[in-house]
Symmetry: C2
Subunit: 302 residues, 2 copies
Amino acid sequence: MPRIAYFGPQGTFTEQAARAFDAQAELVPHPTIPLAVAAVRAGEADFACVPVENSVEGAVSATMDALAVDEPVVAVAEHVLPIRFTVLTRPGTTEVATVASHPHALAQVQGWLAEHLPGAAQLAANSTAAAAVGVLEGRYDAAVTAPVAAAHYPLAELASDIADERDAVTRFLLLSRLTQAPEPTGADRTSVLAVVAHQPGELQNLLAELALRGINLSRIESRPLRGRFGEYRFYLDFDGHIAEPRVGDALAALHRRSQQVRFLGSYPKADAASSAAPAGHRAEDHHSSAAWLASLRSGGAE
Amino acid sequence: MPRIAYFGPQGTFTEQAARAFDAQAELVPHPTIPLAVAAVRAGEADFACVPVENSVEGAVSATMDALAVDEPVVAVAEHVLPIRFTVLTRPGTTEVATVASHPHALAQVQGWLAEHLPGAAQLAANSTAAAAVGVLEGRYDAAVTAPVAAAHYPLAELASDIADERDAVTRFLLLSRLTQAPEPTGADRTSVLAVVAHQPGELQNLLAELALRGINLSRIESRPLRGRFGEYRFYLDFDGHIAEPRVGDALAALHRRSQQVRFLGSYPKADAASSAAPAGHRAEDHHSSAAWLASLRSGGAE
C-alpha cells in the first residue's frame, strides 16, 4: 500500500485530491507543503500530493519553490478538483463574528461572505482544515473548508457548494523521487523549470524551442530568484512526453540554453486530451530524418 | 590524377577556378553547366567545377537548377575568384562594331563599354571563352573574357583588369558524387536546398530552425518551382559542418519541416573565417544535454 504525504491536516482539498490519486493509499498529513515534499525526498513517503495551481488564485508559490530546491522530485500524475466550499460552525452558533480559512480559500468566497456574513472578521489559517480545527477549539466562529472536512469534524454546515467563481478548479500533482517517468499515454504533459540569462529575448527563445518542435505550451509561470535582481525561474508545462523525440530534443535544447534546468516530470493529463504531435513532429518523422542524416554522414545517398 | 569537368570552353573563369582547386588535375571542358555536372553523375569525371554566385549578378541559375535535379551531387570545396576582365580582339583590329561575351560578363563591364566602345553592338555568347573563339573565327570583333583566355587564343589584348565593380567576385563549387563530407576544419559551410509548403511563415520557420541553434546563415536564394504556382525552392548556405550536432539537428529539423530537402555539402569556407559554434551550441553542450536527457529517461537523477 503506497504512502502519500499531503498538505494537511485532514479534511483539506489536498486530502480529497490524494484520495482521488489512490483511494487505497495510506495518507499522511503534513503541516506545510515543503514538509510534505521533504517526506518524499527523505523516503518517508512514496508520493507527495500538493496543489500546484488554482484557476482563480494562480500558482501555489510554496509548491513552485519546493520543486526548485534540494533533491529533485518529479510529478507522476495530476488531478484537477472542482473547488466548492463548505462553511462550518459549531452546532448552535447564531452569530458569526469571525470566519477563518486559508487565504486562497477566503479569496474565492468574497462575494458569498459579503452577502451572507458581511460583519464577520476574516482571519487567515494555515489551511482550510486548520480553520475547521480552530472553530472546533473556539478560536473562530466559522471556517470556509473543503467538503471533506465535514466528515472529519463534528461541526455544522452553515452553507455548502459555494464559490464566487463557479468554474474554479485546483490542480494537484502527485510527486515522486526521480525514477522512470510513467509510460506515455498519448495524452501527456511535461513540466520543467529553467533559469535563463538576464538578456532580452531569452524567454522568447525558450518558447521558440518548443513552438518550432510542434509542442503546445499549456502554462508558464515565473518566480523571481532571490538575491539575483531581474532574474527569473520559469516554469513551463507543455504537451508531450519525455520519451518522444520532439520533447527530448526540446528538453536538450533548454538544457543548452539555460543556466539551470530541472525536469519536473512527464505524466498523463487529467483532462486526457490528446497530446499527439502534429505532422512533421511525430516520432516517425524524427526517425526518418535521423536515418536520412545518418546516411548522409556516412557518405550514403539521400 | 583527378579529373575535373568544368563549364568551358578553355579560357573561362571556371577554368581558372578549377586550376585553383587542383593545379595538377586533368581539366575537361563541357559546353554547359548541366553537362559538366552530368559528367560527374555519370562517373566520367571525379569533380565538376561550376560557378554558383557572382557578387554583382547573383545566383547562377543553371547551377542552382542542376543541383536540384537527378542524382545528388555535393560540394566538397569552394573557391572565390576576383573578377577582372580582359578585352580581346584579332591582332590589327581598328574598329570594333560587335563585342561579345557571356551575359553575366557583359553586365559587369557596362560602364567600361559605354566609355570605350560606345558604338559596339553587344552580343551574347555561351561563355567568355566562346566569345574569344567567335572573335578568332571572325564572328565578333571583340570579346570580354577571363584573363586566362589570353593564354589560350592568339588574340590581342585591347584592355585588361577591367570591371565596373572593383570588388566583384565569383564563387565556384567543386562538386562530387555523394560521399563522406570532407573533415570539419573549424571554418566550414553547409549548403542545402529545401522545398516547403506554400504557407505563411514556413520560410521564417526554416530560418528559425537555424537561428535557434546558433547557426549563422550566410546566403539564401529562392527559385520558383516549375508548374507549382507560388511554391519556391530555397537554397540556404550557413556556417558549420554536418558532423556538428547543432548542424545535424538543424538538417534533421529541415527534413521534417520540408516537402523536399537535399543536402548540398559541408566544405571548408574559402575565406577560412571561423564557423565555431557560439556558447550553448557547441558539441560539448550537445553531449552534455544528451547525457542529461538519457539519464532522466532511464530514471536517473538530474
